[in-house]
């Protein structure tokens, strides 16, 4: 019997993206540049996070016309973002035939108490996290892939590093714990006990975990890979730089060869200006995107 939309095919697509770079694009032309550079998927947006941050106001799901033009222009998987808790935006994206939905803190949340119940969709979801508890809550709701939140649109990798280290530290703690400690850890982390218990046995997350939020250079991408990311999302970092095509190619090569500094040095040469960066401490706390969702 043929079965579609299963946990196996949802998490399986995330497995196929591993070791790759997922790039934010806002039109068909950028999508083609990303595909030719070797992106393993693209994220279809109306504006990259740096512009969303600059514009303020309410950020929503992109216009279906923009998304469809991007879907028609490339043969790699196309992702799109919906607002946290906005399950109708997710239904619309699924109806468009999108390959992956990012329930994203980069857009303005539609529900401050609930995330989408993702198990009821056939399309897979990726969600952001800042630590292991948040990752396991999203997986419990049906996320087939996890990414660090980082701080999108800043070109500053510090938050992505913080979140990746927090996830890794959480995993180490659960693995090292004795069985009688697992319930207390689950309570403290606010994570589903079954997932904590499974992690204790397997020693790894049940889904793929990418890094996102502030990656701007080949070295940033390789840093996140060496910290244990399965792959990277690059948002504003490519099309807000002075030479998007060269930078995109360099980040792809650095992500594959993250353990080879000589290759990272070679591809980092003469890429031109990276995107302008922001110091996280200068951003008012109410404007931090990572604090959206729980």
């Amino acid at each position: 019997m043929v079965e579609r939309g299963t946990w196996g095919v949802k998490t399986g697509l995330a497995q196929m993206l591993k070791g790759g770079v997922i790039m934010d694009v806002t039109n068909a032309e950028q999508a083609k540049i990303a595909e030719e550079a070797g992106a393993c998927a693209v994220m279809a947006l109306e504006r990259v996070p740096a512009d969303i941050r600059a514009a303020g106001g309410v950020a929503r799901m992109a216009d279906p016309k923009v998304i469809q033009e991007i879907m028609n222009s490339v043969s790699i998987p196309v992702m799109a973002k919906c607002r946290i808790g906005h399950f109708v935006e997710a239904q619309v994206l699924e109806a468009l035939g999108i390959d992956f939905i990012d329930e994203s803190e980069v857009l303005t949340p539609a529900d401050e108490a609930h995330h989408i119940w993702k198990h009821s969709f056939k399309v897979p979801f990726v969600c952001g996290c800042r630590d292991l508890g948040e990752a396991l809550r999203r997986i419990g709701e049906g996320a087939a892939m996890i990414r660090t939140k980082g701080e999108a649109g800043t070109g500053n990798v510090v938050e992505a590093v913080r979140h990746m280290r927090a996830v890794t530290e959480g995993i180490r703690r659960v693995v090292a714990a004795s069985e009688e400690e697992l319930m207390a850890i689950a309570k403290e982390m606010g994570a589903p006990f079954e997932l904590v218990s499974e992690l204790h046995q397997t020693g790894k997350l049940p889904v793929v975990n990418f890094a996102a939020g502030g990656i701007a250079t080949p070295a940033d991408a390789a840093l996140m890979m060496q910290l244990g990311a399965d792959g990277v999302f690059v948002g504003s970092g490519i099309f807000k730089s002075s030479n998007p095509s060269a930078r995109a190619k360099a980040i792809v090569v650095a992500t594959t060869n993250y353990q080879n500094p000589a290759i990272i040095a070679e591809v980092s040469r003469g890429l031109g200006e990276a995107m302008p960066g922001l110091d996280i401490k200068q951003i008012p706390s109410q404007e931090l995107l990572a604090a959206r969702g729980w």
Binding site: E3, T6, V9, M16, E35, S75, I76, G97, I98
Partner: protein, 198 residues
């Protein structure tokens, strides 16, 4: 015996883990020098365009072609099947071009059309195989020297063999079923490679 898994992008770790589970030495291959001394090569699933660009960048195309012609067993799964095919449609791309098959990328549709199914594979002992298809390629033409190992109920070929080459449209590495890997390792251990220096 040592098996290489092309480790440019995709689920190469799952293949490496499968081979380890079967007690065989293995290596993640990212450069031509790492192809030396192998008894077999697995090309994993992933995004075919990404892996192809990286294969060109790192000068892996010609060395792999040469090893294949010298008789080295190669198994490709999903994107790996696309790399092995002589002809690829939608879009047309230059691959390793080793097997006399024509495949259509994403031939079953987008991700929402991805599926799982139990299929009989006659060469394997122990009943049907749980096959996971993810944005999988469709084999549209099979050359006269190509043997079909498995088909879907609608008759589409999904596993094919041509001498030392095996291509699967699905992902045995995402299951716990090691039978297809055992089949490939048996090919690798009995193969006569003329020269395994790339």
């Amino acid at each position: 015996m040592k098996i290489g898994v092309l480790a440019l992008q995709g689920d190469f770790r799952e293949h490496l883990a499968m081979v380890s589970r079967l007690g065989v030495d293995n290596i993640a291959v990212r450069s031509a020098s790492e192809l030396e001394g192998l008894n077999g090569l697995i090309i994993p699933g992933g995004e075919s365009t990404t892996a192809l660009i990286l294969m060109h960048n790192f000068g892996l195309i010609e060395p792999i072609r040469k090893l294949a012609k010298n008789g080295m067993p190669i198994m490709g799964t999903c994107a790996g099947m696309i790399h092995l095919a002589k002809e690829v449609l939608s879009p047309n791309m230059e691959t390793l071009g080793l097997m006399d098959i024509t495949v259509r990328r994403n031939g079953f549709g987008r991700q929402i059309d991805s599926f799982e199914i139990d299929i009989p594979i006659t060469i394997l002992p122990g009943g049907s195989f749980h096959a996971i298809f993810i944005r999988a390629p469709v084999i549209e033409r099979v050359g006269p020297a190509v043997e079909v190992l498995a088909r879907l109920p609608d008759d589409k070929a999904i596993a094919v063999k041509e001498e030392n080459l095996v291509a699967l449209a699905f992902h045995p590495e995402l299951t716990l079923d090691t039978r297809l890997h055992e089949y490939f390792l048996a090919m690798a251990s009995s193969s006569k490679i003329i020269e395994n220096k790339p």
